[in-house]
């Protein structure tokens, strides 16, 4: 598609605009977009609500965005807040603010440094979290790296390499730890290589498993090697 012919949409102040095909969409004020939106670049420093689905190459939200349908975008950076009612498909997602997806999320790479919530599944090649997240379904990623800063939750985690560590002991973290419980709560963890700290899980299954401090786990099933820290509570572990 020839992108040169597309108009730009700049919203400063309070504007109702129609959806359609644009080159750049820049919202600094309060924008309501009626219908589906397709654009090359979406930048939002203000408030935008899209009354349909969104297709974009790059999305950057510093303010507040809500989308009624699904979102397909190449890269997404969220420094402010986004609320998507449908599914999200993207190649790379960075969340430094707050992102809520009421469907499922598919991406190559996901980085969460703020707060992330999805009601459905979450699939990625690489999933790195240094914030807090709630995943209502299955977190399926080749590489899962979680540094616990807040309360993290998922129904199930599956993948090749799964690593959960407590965040460093800065003063801020110590204070936060008293306010929030910094643990990962999950039903099942399944993977090839698993290292867990401060995790509450019913079942952990995999090849090589190491259970670190602060874990409370009902059942561990492994086929390769198994290690367990003194500060871990494991009710039962069996080699298959």
């Amino acid at each position: 598609m020839n992108q040169d012919n597309r108009p730009d949409l700049v919203i400063q102040g309070s504007v109702n605009a129609s959806g359609g095909v644009y080159r750049e969409v820049n919202v600094q004020g309060l924008g309501k977009i009626k219908g589906d939106l397709e654009c090359h670049e979406l930048q939002c420093g203000g408030h935008v609500s899209i009354d349909g689905s969104m297709l974009a190459t790059s999305v950057r939200v510093d303010g507040n965005a809500s989308v009624r349908g699904g979102v397909k975008a190449d890269t997404m950076e969220i420094y402010g807040q986004i609320d998507v009612n449908g599914d999200v498909k993207t190649t790379s997602l960075l969340v430094k603010g707050n992102a809520k997806v009421h469907g499922s999320l598919t991406s190559d790479e996901i980085q969460v440094k703020g707060f992330f919530k999805s009601s459905g599944d979450c699939e990625a090649e690489v999933f790195k979290a240094e914030g807090a997240f709630t995943i209502g379904g299955l977190l399926n990623a080749g590489q899962v790296e979680i540094q616990l800063h807040g309360n993290c939750q998922a129904r199930e985690i599956g993948g090749e390499h799964i690593e959960v560590r407590k965040a460093g002991s800065s003063t801020l973290n110590k204070i936060l730890k008293h306010i929030f419980n910094t643990t990962l709560t999950v039903d099942t963890v399944e993977g090839d290589e698993i290292y867990l700290e401060y995790t509450r899980a019913k079942v952990v299954r995999g090849n090589n498993i190491a259970i670190g401090p602060g874990c409370e786990i009902d059942l561990v099933e492994y086929t390769g090697e198994y290690r367990q820290d003194n500060g871990a509570q494991v009710k039962e572990h069996t080699k298959r």
């Binding site: 599956g158 993948g159 090749e160 399944e190 993977g191 090839d192 079942v203 299954r205 090849n207």
Partner: protein, 207 residues
């Protein structure tokens, strides 16, 4: 648990693949989402798969992954019939249909240079039944007709073609693969064809 289903644990033990591989294949869409069936058991929630389908699929992935990349494999398994065209010559040359089936096909869809992929699929299914001698050429018309008018409604979702005969009169039906069907006693189910499986076979033939 009925024997048509296999638990995830049992599956991995039987096939020797790891959790990582299973999850990777799921991510690459080699294993359809709706095959992952969650059920509660006495140990909590567990995932089950339709036994025959998953075992056949994993066997194929293991045997084909040396020749094809995972993304190419995903194309093979995808139930989506993307609007590609197949050249008329390829039909016979690539051994997709025999000459009699081809004639029947041309009678039905007209004499064209190239045919939409889904029409070729219908011809391939007719060929399968003709080759086994279960269906006559005349009945083949009914098959093409049934597929043409009803298959698009499934929009790529898994379904089955059922070929029945009662007192010499034949009929075709398309049913979604989760449907249970019961027939009266004098009905003979001549054949049931899994459309997705035919699609896979056809795609591998066309590669």
């Amino acid at each position: 648990m009925d024997r048509d289903f296999i638990s995830k644990k049992e599956l991995l033990e039987l096939t020797g693949i790891s959790y990582g591989q299973l999850y990777r294949w799921k991510r690459k869409n080699l294993i359809p989402e709706d095959w992952f069936i969650r059920r509660s058991t006495y140990t909590g929630q567990e995932t089950f798969f339709p036994r025959e389908q998953i075992l056949a699929r994993i066997d194929k992935i293991i045997h084909m992954k040396d020749d094809l990349s995972l993304d190419e494999l995903a194309d093979v398994f995808s139930p989506q019939v993307f609007g590609s065209m197949v050249k008329r010559e390829e039909l016979v040359e690539q051994n997709i249909v025999s000459i009699p089936t081809f004639d029947l096909f041309v009678q039905h869809f007209g004499d064209e240079e190239a045919y939409p992929f889904e029409h070729v699929l219908y011809a391939y299914m007719a060929e399968r039944l003709l080759a086994t001698g279960e269906m006559s050429l005349e009945e083949g018309k009914g098959l093409l007709h049934a597929m043409e008018s009803h298959y698009p409604k499934f929009q790529g979702k898994p379904c089955e073609l059922i070929f029945i005969r009662k007192m010499g009169i034949s009929a075709f039906a398309l049913a979604s693969s989760s449907a249970e069907l019961y027939f009266e006693g004098s009905v003979k189910v001549v054949s049931r064809l899994n459309v997705a499986a035919c699609l896979e076979e056809l795609k591998t033939k066309l590669k």
